[in-house]
């Protein structure tokens, strides 16, 4: 215990020194800051706002699917003649909303929040670093991301509207459809931002680990961020190249993705031809499959931290977890064409990709098994972060398991491009990743602000979201198995074979809007707790990892004394210890 007091007294002396040294103006301190904590919070708040925005787009779409052709209530009249005349949505606007929902959720919401936000804020603290290795580059990553985001948002306004060829942007459609140019420019900014960020992350983790923090003592969250950064570093450039090529096709009249002999609305297209539309799909999925693991790995990291902390015992099979995610990261580069089984793939390559897809499901099974076994013998505290982390497990299981029939080409014949796919990946990204991110917000909020979020509002947020989100996505499996296609402006009402499935569109609609309502307690909680939340000391969860040895919120340079690490990350309930946690930073 006397350790803590020494820290305390040191804290005093240093605090003065720092105040004198770093008097920065408002702009340098909060806007163009180079401090990883400020940048992390900027990323997190921007990411959350984009998530809310992306969700709003989807709530509008769900109205059209529930009541095709009926005027959109409340905002319908504000959308304008070329989007929703008389408040009734046009098909092209539906397609814009769909494409932008996907793009915003993935590239502007989850990745910035999970990597830019949590990664930036937590990772340097967990490895005992004073900041990221390249603080100015870090600031630049954020602002390049910001420009990309603004470009995407602005793309709604010019005539023709936003991108409307899906988040996958398959040519030739994407080359001839309006709105795509700004999407491409925005993507090039976002990719550049992620590349800068990933270099920074890897260097920071490799170079700035505190004394005694060996690889097998790293918190699992840091491992997850390291693998994620490698995925971003090596998978994103091909999409950047592909984006440049598609931009050339649009603005310079090239034919990278355009075969000869196209006739669009009755007129031959005047292009040189000889391009290949499938080439885009390869370059796109070469990124986008690793990208889905970019969405899930930080979530694995977050819930591992929360579970270890709230079970009050070590994670089961820490080393196995580490090897599993490293293997997962590696394999994720050679499964991409399982999104392309229906493009006319022959037996050999389809066998290859089916096999790699089945292989890549194994590390996920291992991760989930290890986390489930970690619960055995625990002493579980059910606080809001833990509830979200626990809910993640069965939700990810549903999403992951439904990936298996998609990964087998013959069953994918029936399921490809139906709502089954939508159900599959939303179970992994929404009640999966988004829940993990919510858990992370509740868990690290005290570190960022020195205040705890309100628990009662947390419970309301959790249970409301948990029930509604299952009502949104579970019926999608029924619709998908029944043969309802995705990306349908009228929710599939055209087709006779969908007749029995349309009632679910109403259920999903109401569940989605209720899900929206249940975010209100969270938003209130988030902002009000900054001011009125219960003040806490630096280690309110009695946790063991390094970030909890810094003051809450940590000052410039993070640590008052140079941190030294003495043991593994999850030494809870060590037999014979005085307390049920033995922090890494205490000798």
């Amino acid at each position: 215990m006397d350790n803590v007091t020494t820290h305390g007294s040191v804290a005093h002396g240093h605090a003065h020194e720092h105040a004198a040294h770093h008097e920065l103006g408002f702009w340098r301190k909060y806007v163009f800051s180079v401090d990883h904590k400020v940048i992390g919070i900027q990323y997190a708040v921007t990411g959350l706002l984009f998530l809310l925005f992306g969700f709003t787009l989807m709530m509008i779409m769900r109205w059209q699917m529930a009541y095709p052709g009926r005027p959109i209530p409340l905002i319908g009249m504000w959308l304008g003649q070329d989007r929703a005349p008389m408040g009734v949505m046009l098909p092209e606007f539906y397609n814009q909303l769909g494409a932008m929902h996907g793009t915003i959720m993935v590239f502007l919401g989850v990745v910035p929040l999970a990597v830019g936000g949590f990664g930036n804020f937590v990772m340097p603290l967990q490895i005992g670093a004073p900041d990221m290795a390249f603080p100015k580059l870090n600031m630049m990553s954020y602002w390049v991301y910001f420009i990309g985001g603004v470009t995407m948002l602005a793309s709604f306004f010019p005539t023709g509207g936003a991108a409307q060829s899906g988040w996958t942007s398959y040519p030739p459609l994407a080359v001839i459809a309006p709105g795509q140019t700004m999407w491409l420019v925005g993507m090039i900014f976002l990719i550049t931002s992620s590349l800068l960020g990933s270099v920074n992350f890897i260097v920071t983790i490799v170079q700035l680990r505190a004394k005694g923090l060996t690889w097998m003592r790293l918190p699992f969250f840091v491992w997850a961020q390291l693998v994620t950064a490698f995925l971003l570093l090596l998978a994103f450039p091909p999409l950047e190249a592909a984006g440049v090529l598609q931009l050339m096709d649009r603005v310079a009249g090239t034919s990278f993705f355009m075969p000869s002999g196209l006739v669009v609305s009755g007129k031959p297209l005047m292009i040189s031809g000889n391009g290949n539309p499938l080439l885009w799909q390869h370059l796109f999925w070469f990124l986008a499959h690793p990208e889905v693991y970019v969405l899930i790995l930080p979530a694995f990291g977050i819930i591992s931290e929360i579970i270890a902390n709230n079970t009050r015992k070590p994670l089961w099979g820490y080393k196995t977890l580490v090897y599993a995610v490293v293997f997962l990261g590696f394999m994720s580069f050679i499964v991409w064409a399982h999104h392309m089984f229906m493009t006319g793939m022959g037996t050999t390559m389809s066998a290859f990709f089916q096999t790699t897809t089945m292989i890549i499901s194994i590390p996920s099974v291992i991760v989930l098994t290890a986390l489930l076994l970690s619960l055995w013998g625990a002493s579980i505290r059910f606080n809001p972060p833990m509830l979200f982390a626990l809910a993640f497990l069965p939700m990810f299981a549903i999403g992951g398991l439904t990936g298996l029939p998609l990964g087998l080409a013959p069953s994918d014949i029936h399921l490809h491009d139906t709502y089954y796919v939508i159900g599959h990946f939303h179970y992994v990204v929404a009640p999966g990743t988004i829940f993990a991110l919510f858990g992370g917000v509740y868990y690290w909020f005290p570190k960022a602000t020195g205040k705890k979020m309100n628990e009662l509002l947390g419970y309301v947020h959790f249970w409301g979201s948990f029930i509604c989100i299952n009502l949104v996505f579970m019926p999608m499996f029924i619709q998908g198995l029944g043969g309802m296609n995705r990306r349908m402006y009228d929710g599939g009402a055209q087709y006779a074979h969908n007749a029995g499935l349309l009632k679910w569109n109403l259920v999903i609609g109401f569940a989605a809007w209720s899900l929206g309502l249940f975010q209100i307690p969270f938003i209130i909680n988030f902002f009000s707790s900054i001011k009125w939340g219960k003040a806490v000391d630096k280690n309110p969860w009695e946790a063991t990892t390094l970030e909890w040895s810094a003051p809450s919120p940590p000052g410039h340079g993070n640590f008052l004394t140079e941190p030294v690490v003495y043991r593994g990350p999850y030494e809870y309930s060590v037999p014979g210890a005085a307390r049920d946690f033995s922090p890494q930073f205490e000798a």
């Binding site: 046009l90 397609n95 409307q164 899906g166 030739p172 459609l173 001839i176 459809a177 000869s260 196209l262 006739v263 669009v264 009755g266 031959p268 391009g275 539309p277 015992k313 070590p314 089961w316 229906m342 493009t343 006319g344 793939m345 022959g346 037996t347 389809s350 291992i366 489930l372 076994l373 055995w376 013998g377 625990a378 002493s379 579980i380 059910f382 299981a397 549903i398 029939p405 087998l408 080409a409 013959p410 069953s411 014949i413 029936h414 490809h416 491009d417 139906t418 198995l481 043969g483 296609n485 990306r487 349908m488 402006y489 009228d490 599939g492 055209q494 006779a496 074979h497 809870y572 037999p575």
Partner: protein, 255 residues
């Protein structure tokens, strides 16, 4: 299991195989989910703070985890090797001979399915994009002898029952996807390629072609109709089409 999954009715000979695979994999998923789910609920109750105030540093023991993981690996590999890869090989690589099958060409465009039957001579006439017009959407060159007897329709695909169907897909503009859910067929239509897809319809009835790849603002209404008929009905329909064709080809086309 299949009934509970709510799959559409089967109307082709291979539909049962695909459904069987979907059924088996869902059994595997169910076993894993329920097995781990029961365990999960049990530990949440048994090891809550109230019931177990002091956590156990050692945690779970034994080789249970390894056992389940190996079981999953074996199950997945079995499904892969026994069902999936062979099924794909027959589905895509072993096409019926052209003279043994009902041969059809299908030209997708925003937002319609243009269909071409080779007619009695069994040969498809030449098409040329410079001939494309409102009433000749595929640009069929009627002066070509092979084209004289070619029957074309829009969004209406008639097929005889119990005979292999071989469809050659191509696209005029963007990527579409040809799906008939009851037949359990789906195949992307990629511009620049002519891609075959085949099946044997075994139930007389009316079905729909669903476009399954986002192809623009009319994607949601790019629907085609499939009529599976007895061989006699199909022949009659084909004869009627040929009859309609004759006066048209008899009068010399002004061009």
């Amino acid at each position: 299991m299949l009934n509970y999954l709510g799959l559409p009715p089967q109307a082709s000979t291979h539909a049962g195989d695909i459904d069987q695979m979907i059924g088996i994999i869902h059994w595997l998923m169910l076993v894993m989910f329920v097995g781990w789910g029961l365990y999960f609920v049990y530990v949440l109750i048994r090891f809550r703070r109230g019931a177990n105030p002091k956590a156990n540093y050692e945690g779970a023991h034994g080789t249970f985890a390894k056992g389940t993981e190996i079981a999953v690996v074996i199950a997945e590999m079995a499904i892969l090797l026994v069902f999936a890869i062979p099924a794909w090989a027959t589905r895509v690589s072993q096409l019926p001979a052209e003279n043994q099958a009902t041969l059809v060409r299908l030209y997708a465009e925003q937002f319609a399915w243009n269909i071409q039957y080779p007619g009695p001579d069994g040969k498809f006439g030449r098409t040329d994009i410079s001939l494309v017009s409102a009433d000749n959407p595929i640009g069929l060159d009627r002066r070509d002898p092979d084209a004289k007897d070619d029957v074309t329709t829009i969004n209406q695909l008639n097929l005889p029952v119990d005979r292999p169907v071989l469809i050659q897909l191509s696209s005029k503009d963007v990527i579409h996807s040809f799906a008939i859910y009851e037949m359990r067929v789906k195949q992307d239509v990629v511009p620049g390629l002519r891609i075959p897809v085949w099946f044997i319809p075994n139930k007389i009835g009316a079905y729909e072609i669903a476009c399954s790849q986002l192809c623009g603002l009319g994607h949601f209404r790019m629907r085609g109709f499939v009529t599976v008929q007895s061989a006699a009905d199909f022949q009659k329909w084909m004869d009627d089409q040929e009859k309609e064709l004759r006066p048209a080809t008899a009068t010399p086309t002004a061009n």
